[in-house]
């Protein structure tokens, strides 16, 4: 089974040379740490920066320089700042190549829910609705089940949706799955996890086609 860092490491392998990438809050933010350093990648944050670098050294933080998770950051050579309007032009206009974000639920049709639990929790969608409605390539990073042990890969989402039919790939602590017309296609197993374990943890239609390899991190 993977921990959060394991999930981030596996997703990092999906990041290709020349990609502009938007990372959501939580596990996705960790992905930046594990991208191969022999490829050229730029990270965009929807609050208005392209070319984000690592966190600043202690004492060098700047209140005017944060990411969409409100964390203090740095920039790399070639970086740029811009306003929210141009930032969402990048996103909506499909100039960002890959979006990685968390989810509470994903359906076998690629619907995603991650912004609201009616009557209980409402943080808002932030930029997520724009991202999922626009991105050509969306990877969801999440645990396979919730704290109550219930599957987060469902036939239908039970929570209010963030977007419909948009998720392409899911990386969980148990597996890598592709969203296909017929349901969740199992691509890889996490180390030490069996196909049976994944079946048990997946409520939506799971497609197991031939031998399923174990992930290489």
């Amino acid at each position: 089974m993977l921990d959060k860092i394991g999930i981030a490491k596996r997703i990092a392998k999906e990041v290709k040379d020349g990609y502009y990438v938007n990372l959501g809050i939580g596990i996705p933010t960790l992905v930046a740490n594990y991208v191969r350093d022999d490829i050229e990648v730029e990270f965009q944050s929807e609050n208005g920066v392209l070319g984000m670098g690592p966190f600043p050294y202690e004492g060098e933080e700047d209140a005017d320089l944060i990411n969409a998770g409100k964390q203090t950051i740095t920039t790399l050579p070639g970086a740029s700042f811009f306003d929210s309007s141009l930032s969402f032009s990048m996103i909506r206009g499909q100039h960002v190549d890959l979006t990685i974000l968390g989810a509470m639920e994903v359906s076998e049709e690629g619907d995603i829910a991650n912004w609201k639990i009616p009557g209980k929790m409402v943080k808002g969608m932030g930029g997520a609705m724009d991202l999922v409605a626009s991105a050509q390539n969306i990877i969801v990073a999440m645990m396979h089940t919730n704290k109550a042990g219930e599957s987060k890969l469902l036939k239908k989402c039970s929570l209010p949706l963030t977007g419909v039919g948009c998720v392409k790939k899911i990386v969980t602590n148990l597996a890598v799955l592709e969203v296909t017309e017929d349901g969740f296609k199992l691509l890889e197993r996490a180390p030490g996890i069996s196909v049976e374990d994944i079946k048990k943890a997946t409520e939506g239609q799971l497609i197991v086609d031939g031998e399923i390899p174990e992930m290489v991190l």
Binding site: S45, E46, N47, G48, V49, P54, F55, P56, Y57, E58, G59, E60, E61, D62, A63, D64, L65, I66, N67, A68, G69, K70, Q71, T72, I73, F81, F82, D83, S84, S85, S87, F88, I91, R92, D111, W115, K116, G119, K120, M121, V122, K123, G124, M125, G126, G127, A128, M129, D130, A133, S134, P160, L161, T162, G163, V164, G165
Partner: protein, 233 residues
Amino acid sequence: MINKKVANVSEAMEGVKDDMTLMVGGFGLCGIPENAINNLVKMNVKGLTCISNNAGVDDFGLGLLLHKRQIKKMISSYVGENDEFERQMLSGELEVELVPQGTLVERCRAAQSGFPAIFTPAGYGTEVAEGKEIREFNGKMYVLERAFEADFAFVKAWKGDAAGNLIFKGTARNFNPAMCGSAKITVAEVEELVPVGSLDPNQIHIPGIFVQRIFQGEKYEKRIEQLTVRKKA
């Protein structure tokens, strides 16, 4: 040169009344108009509708207005990190309209630019689109979203001049530019009010035509919401 300079925040706030709709710049606590917000608290205007990406935190930014129940309705994209907000919202004391972030900024820009509405893909198939016109263009679905109408816009810039020209710094730019000229009156506060002619005309982010009042802000706290650092090797 048309002079937009006012003496201080009190003069800049002239005309702000109960039940008005206000745009407030910033993302999280980054780039928020601290002087204007603090003055709204002092003025104790009530029944406000605030259009702002976030709602501050419990004891800073718009959270100060929430705490004093000055806000009737928030129009925002993300309101986490604010317990009082969540309490008022879940109890129904506070009206909340949650808007996708890209839609939020573009509804500001539409007002700035004389567009009545926009078609955006954000929110299609979700409760955000309920009751709104949906249309297909080239096989993709879009939601019709209307331009905002606001009485005042409060923005914060890094540098500005008496002509109302503004330059923002880093990610403190965020929603501020799109809110300039999007309300009946735009009030800009700046960290540094510089002499007219000292800003490079080629590097101005917002020309003064979008700003009605400008003043030199004071005592910026510029609080950091999530301090994340690494150790020096």
